[in-house]
Amino acid sequence: MKVVQGFDVSDMTRFNPDQRAPLWWGILGLITIESAVVLTFCVSYMYLAAYADTWPPRGESAPPMLWPSINLGLLMLSSLTMYLAGRAIKRGNQRGLAIGVTASVLLATTVLVLRSLELMAYEFSWKDHAYGSIVWTISGFHYVHVTSIVFGSAVVAILAWRGYFTRQRQIGVVVDTNYWYFVCFAWIPFYLLLYWGPRVYGQ
């Protein structure tokens, strides 16, 4: 059969930092899946709350609000530094990228420290009642995620300091940033549910 030329792709870019890149879609897929998990956790929380006589159970008080709210602020701030880091590499500013990612990692590490202290101060255990179980499980779920973005982004930071990323070669940064946003923003529904929820349900 005669073979004729249809499209010539020799001159097309081999670097696809944006929606063109499969990896960009791949991370979107991961975020979708995990969002479904987040949602399922939230629904489970509400289901248990709805069927409970009192929520939180008699004898427990709603957890204090201060530290989680500070964490919320820190996570939002780290998203901002992450965003700036991404902006920097779009302009080819390698130093800006390295600084931004490092700052985000440090901010999230602070969150981990604060969260650890806060969890240790909880007055109830996951064994005590369904309320304790779901609070601890959601907290643990998010804690593990913050740990994983700290770990993953630390690697990105190392590569950034070594000058691996360039204006073209930046897909790694793009997907890391997107996942970072997801983990930080997932804290919002959890925060509302875990800390505002009992105050609303409790009335």
Binding site: M1, K2, V3, V4, Q5, G6, F7, D8, V9, S10, D11, M12, T13, R14, N16, R20, A21, P22, L23, W25, G26, G29, L30, T32, I33, E34, A36, V37, T40, F41, S44, Y47, L48, Y51, A52, P57, W126, K127, D128, H129, A130, Y131, G132, S133, I134, W136, T137, V144, T147, S148, F151, G152, V155, L159, Y164, R169, G172
Partner: protein, 636 residues
């Protein structure tokens, strides 16, 4: 758009030397160690398919053992404990380790070929998913040999599956391995979505996509939205069992029904996750064996998408006997009946396509016709059990067992075997025997009906499911004996196909690239396809590219991909216009290492929670190694 070039056999876009270079670039390393580094989608797809069929065989043997136990009243062949393990393992393996992986395997193998590209979007992730599946399957099945197998049914209702009523490791193995294998299902789903949306051959706009690719796409989206629910539910259950959380424990303020909601929110779509790709296979086979464009392409696509959506709104029909509020239940009855509409559209389009066509009754087509007969019965009983008064009557009786085997075997296994015959020459380069194929079909068809039809009657007579025996006076003996005989005939039918397959690999007639005269792109590759799938990435101008080329006597292709590394074309989502080129990664051992690290965690936590932490960091390190950029860094 099309530029004419001289059509000599060795013009500049078609030289043998380039083919050799392509082969060097894309080939998979040999040797035992090499085996663990393979990333090509056809390798992975084939492994998924073969492994899944092995699980089908194993779970099928369990099914037969169950039937032998039930053949007569008060038999002592397998005791109650083993019986519980057997039906649990049978159901679990069939649903999680056979049906979904086999469909994904076919999709992994054929979607890239059908959309005209050289691999999947994330070849290494693909390999990772396979190892996860393999390890998970071995552990689950191994638990049976160690008498540690799950025994609380494939849907593991609490409180039966809680630590109090199911001590021992069985349910732990179930929950961890289910979560683990869903990881594999999810990676494959994301791969399939991205590959389908971003890597189609230029010109293959969404409305020219082969119907099987559509079905695989819908299946993948369903997996993405359904599997997280089962992951969460099994995580909650394992937490209850391992670290004493109270999610499902009433005394601790937990809610057993939460389990059922989460499980069936996944479990109902699960059935359609299995069915939808089968619908795609049926359409594919019908097109080829009537040799004309299918009737109602758009209607078929829309109804598959609709089935995908509606199936998420039905889960409560598995819970009609749990005492939920009446109004809610009526809604779910209505929704359950609604799904008959898109299913009906499918059947209508197929009948219209077959109407007046010169049908070639080759083996794949026979299995499709068998599907029609069986599936219609399964669908009817489905509408019956969607009605609450009737369901209250037959719930947890053999009527249900009959119903869902009509749907699952009729709806998925029959089309699947048809598709296996259909695509066999593409995968192996050899034909299967038609005579044996027809024998296999008739034995399986008759055997199937003899096995499962009597179960309707048994159910109406009140025989509960999941009982290891029954007393003579119930009068269920004769029909049970009949069903057992039927199951042996059914097994013989599948066995003939197995022998046919082995025989074909050893002695089968060699297959040309397009032995059935099909219109879709996978048939433009060699049989079996070369490592790089296509020498030239095709350019597509209609739904039936091969039929077009046949008429035109020529074909347009993409040029300008490098041959010395793994390059594929990226195209736009809707109309498949080329937008870029992607370089894919080469073979590596890391996906395997990662999967082993992850499995350590999943197996380990059954014994101690610390394994979660260990595996978490191990996996993180393997991922870094997997993604670490190698110098020289690409600079173009």
């Amino acid at each position: 758009m099309t530029l004419e070039t001289p059509a000599t056999p060795h013009d500049r876009i078609d030289s043998a030397e380039q083919a050799t270079q392509l082969e060097r670039t894309w080939h998979s390393p040999g040797g035992l160690l090499g085996w663990f580094t393979h990333v090509n989608q056809r390798m992975i797809g084939k492994r998924f398919i073969i492994t899944a069929f092995i699980f089908f065989l194993l779970a099928g043997i369990l099914g037969i053992l169950i039937r032998l136990q039930l053949a007569g009243p008060e038999q002592q062949f397998i005791g109650p404990e083993l019986y519980n393990q057997f039906f649990t393992m049978h159901g679990t393996v069939m649903m999680f380790f056979f049906a979904i992986p086999v469909m994904e395997g076919f999709a992994i193998y054929f979607v890239p070929l059908m959309v005209g590209t050289r691999d999947m979007a994330f070849p290494r992730l693909n390999a990772f998913g396979y190892y996860v599946y393999l390890i998970g399957g071995i552990v689950l099945f191994g638990s049976l040999l160690l008498s540690m197998a799950p025994n609380a049914g494939w849907f593991n209702y609490v409180p039966l599956s809680s630590k109090l009523y199911s001590p021992g490791y069985g349910v732990d193995v179930w929950t961890t391995m289910i979560t683990f294998i869903e990881v594999s299902a999810l990676t494959a789903a994301v791969e399939l979505i991205v590959t389908t949306l971003r890597m189609r051959a230029p010109g293959m706009s969404l409305n020219r996509m082969p119907l099987f690719v559509w079905a695989a796409l819908v299946m993948s989206f369903m997996i993405v939205f359904a599997m997280p629910a089962v992951i969460v539910s099994s995580t909650l259950l394992i937490l209850d069992r391992l670290v004493d959380t109270q999610f499902f424990i009433v005394e601790g303020g937990g809610e057993p029904l939460l389990w059922q909601h989460l499980f069936w929110y996944f479990g109902h779509p699960e059935v359609y996750i299995i069915l939808v790709p089968a619908l795609g296979m049926i359409s594919t086979i019908i097109i080829t064996f009537t040799r004309r464009p299918i009737y109602g392409y758009t209607a078929l696509v829309l109804s598959v998408v609709a089935i995908g959506f509606v199936s998420f709104g039905l889960w409560v029909h598995h819970m009609f006997t749990t005492g939920l509020p009446q109004l809610g239940m009526s809604f779910f009855t209505a929704a359950s009946v609604t799904i008959a509409i898109p299913s009906g559209v499918q059947i209508f389009c197929w009948i219209a396509s077959l109407w007046g066509a010169r049908i070639r009754f080759a083996t794949p087509m026979l299995w499709v016709l068998g599907f029609f007969a069986i599936f219609v019965i399964g669908g009817l009983t489905g509408v019956m059990v969607a009605s609450i008064p009737f369901d209250t009557q037959v719930h947890d009786t053999f009527f249900l067992v009959a119903h869902f085997h009509y749907v699952l075997i009729g709806g998925a296994v029959f089309p699947l075997i048809g598709a296996t015959y259909y695509w066999w020459p593409k995968i192996t380069g050899r034909m299967m025997s038609e005579t044996a194929g027809k024998w296999s079909f008739w034995l399986a068809f008759i055997g199937f009906n003899v096995t499962f039809f009597p179960m309707h009657q048994l159910g109406l007579e009140g025989m509960p499911r999941r009982i290891y025996t029954y007393v003579e006076e119930m009068g269920w003996g004769d029909l049970n004996l009949l069903a057992t005989i039927g199951s042996l005939v059914l097994a013989t039918g599948f066995g003939v196909t197995l022998i046919n397959a082995i025989w074909s690999v050893l002695r089968g007639r060699r297959a040309e690239p397009n032995p059935w005269g099909a219109p879709t792109l996978e048939w433009a590759a060699d049989s079996p396809p070369a490592s790089y799938n296509f020498r030239h990435i095709p350019v597509v101008e209609s739904r039936w590219p091969l039929w077009d080329w046949e008429q035109a006597g020529e074909r347009a292709v993409v040029t300008g991909l490098r041959h010395d590394r793994r390059e594929v074309v990226l195209t736009s989502v809707l109309d498949a216009k080329p937008v870029g080129v992607q370089v894919l990664p080469a073979p590596t051992i890391w996906p395997f290492v990662s999967a082993v690290a992850a499995s350590m965690g999943f197996i380990g936590i059954i014994f101690h929670p610390i394994f979660f932490v260990i595996a978490f960091f191990l996996v993180a390190f393997t991922l870094v190694a997997w993604f670490w950029p190698r110098r020289p860094w690409r600079d173009d």
